[in-house]
Amino acid sequence: MNAIVTVVGKDKVGIIAAVCNRLASFNVNVLDLSQTILQGNFTMVMAVDISMATEKMKTISESLDELGKSMELSIRIQREEIFDAMHTI
């Protein structure tokens, strides 16, 4: 089961490392990662595999949210299907 992690906020050192570390602690595997600076904002989109995750999606989501707050970023994880449904026929 795949999910999409999005990270948006002010650029600083160590964002990717922190997010990947946090995901790794839940045994979430990163499949793909793309990152740019969009209109001055750090913007990262990751595709991850959550089928082997050690915790439920809700716990992972809360943990990422807490990490986001501590780094002044918006971090969210959502099931991939929602983006598929909205943007592909």
Binding site: I4, T6, S34, S61, R76, I82, A85, M86
Partner: protein, 452 residues
């Protein structure tokens, strides 16, 4: 991998444009709960609702956190209570409303709809008892919603029921006078009511429906408004195309959530209701969409045309996105629940007469309009009759949800709070309709040919 731009645009829709699932509504048939002993019937009602909808709220919350999409309301609709209560030997129907209220609270849902009667052609004894009990039922419960269908294209309009409803609305207001007539906001009077509507206050589970079913209502005026900002000044066919594309996306999301909820609750999926349901939040308004199309204020000349196009484009975009579309499906124009409508009504541009014209081309009707507290019951009945006539002749659902505000007059505003918002008191014609309403009887069903 998915296009990054698409992913970020979805995030922006949820974060900044108020994209959400307005409601997951579980319809439950209560026909099996009829019992000659009213107390037993109430127990059966409570047991059945709490058994079927036990996991509704939890499932909604799980989907919300996994998909990252807000689901604002979780609701229950049940079989019109007049049909269930008819078997019971009692005159006290309020106990059925209380059983619904208790069951809904036990399940943790926001509202339960179905304290209803269908009287488009005539009233049974049970229908009349239920209708007369509505004011007390709404005043003594918190989450029960009520609706009465008083007309249809096939049956015409039951003017005896229309007359009765005028005084019921008035009593609803009187019994909840200390809350600005809150009871009125939970009572909808329909013509051509639909059986699978997930939206409150008019939701009920029709007799043609399955044992239980999941219906989903989407929302997204903010997303449409935002999309239209990218086609400023362009021809209206471009605007329509933009609305269609946006509606498609919103509905696809609704369909996904509906399917997921139906699977997890082991309940058949019913319909997705393609409605643009506004909220009082800034940027979530249908009126502002119409203004974005080029109208200075919603309610001015051109509003009906703009709304007709919006309503049609939403349906065209949504129909392809869902396997089953139903409910009310269209743009809602509840005055108190729409920040732009409130502003237009306060300014005096949006009046009841214009709203009535607007309801000819959109869903649903004269919704959440506040009228002065001294408005006679016969005038309220006449407003209901006008609205029902539009539905009857045009073969569409129309409704009236009139907020009679005790003690309030023109220039005042009532605060209902939450998603219900606030409403400026709107002027009504002071000339009497009493003799017309007092005639009673029926308006015969209209001819279905020679349409002009």
């Amino acid at each position: 991998m998915l296009d990054k731009k698409d992913i970020l645009s979805t995030i922006e829709m949820i974060d900044q444009q108020h994209l959400d699932i307005r409601t997951i509504t579980m319809g439950i048939s209560l026909l099996s709960c009829a019992d000659a002993d009213p107390k037993k019937a109430c127990d059966k009602i409570y047991d059945k609702i709490t058994k079927y909808a036990e996991k509704l709220v939890k499932t909604g919350e799980d989907i919300e956190s996994e998909f990252g999409i807000p689901i604002v309301n979780k609701r229950i609709s049940v079989t019109p209570m007049a049909l269930v209560a008819a078997a019971s030997e009692t005159d006290d129907y309020v106990q059925f409303a209380k059983a619904m209220d208790k069951a809904a609270k036990a399940c943790g849902v926001n509202f339960i709809g179905g304290y209803s009667a269908l009287v488009q052609k005539g009233m049974t004894k049970a229908d009349e008892k239920l209708i007369r009990s509505i004011p007390e039922a709404l005043a003594t419960t918190d989450v029960v919603c009520s609706s009465v269908n008083i007309g249809s294209t096939r049956a015409g309009i039951n003017m005896d029921a229309v007359k009765l409803m005028g005084s019921v609305v008035k009593q609803c207001a009187d019994l909840t006078a200390d809350e600005d007539g809150l009871g009125c906001s939970k009572l909808v009077i329909f013509c051509n009511a639909v059986e699978d509507n997930p939206f409150m206050a008019g939701a009920f589970h029709g007799v043609g429906e399955a044992e239980r079913v999941i219906n989903v209502g989407v929302s997204g005026p903010g997303v449409v408004y935002h999309a239209l900002q990218s086609v400023k000044g362009q021809p209206l066919d471009v605007v329509a195309e933009t609305i269609k594309k946006t509606a498609f996306r919103i509905t696809r999301m609704g369909q996904l959530v509906a399917k997921e909820a139906s699977q997890r609750l082991d309940t058949p999926f019913g319909i997705v209701d393609l409605s643009l349901a506004p909220t009082p939040a800034i940027g979530d308004s249908v009126a502002r969409i119409l203004e974005e199309m080029g109208l200075e204020t919603c309610g001015t000349h051109g509003t009906t045309a703009a709304l007709a196009m919006l309503n049609d484009a939403v349906k065209k975009g949504g129909v392809m996105a869902s396997s089953s579309v139903g409910g009310l499906s269209g743009a809602f124009i509840p005055v108190s629940e729409d920040e732009g409508m409130i502003a237009a009504a306060s300014k005096g541009t949006l009046c009841i007469d214009k709203l009535e014209a607007m309801t000819c081309v959109c869903s649903v009707g004269l919704d959440m309009i506040a009228v002065p507290g001294d408005t006679p019951a016969s005038t309220i009945s006449a407003i209901i009759a006008d609205e029902a006539a539009i539905g009857m002749v045009n073969n569409k659902t129309t409704a009236a949800r009139i907020l009679l505000a005790p003690g309030k007059k023109l220039g005042d505003t009532i605060e209902i709070g939450g998603l219900f918002g606030s409403a400026p008191i709107m002027p009504v014609h002071t000339e009497s309709s009493e003799d017309f309403i007092n005639r009673g009887g029926r308006i015969p069903a209209p001819l279905q040919s020679l349409k002009n």
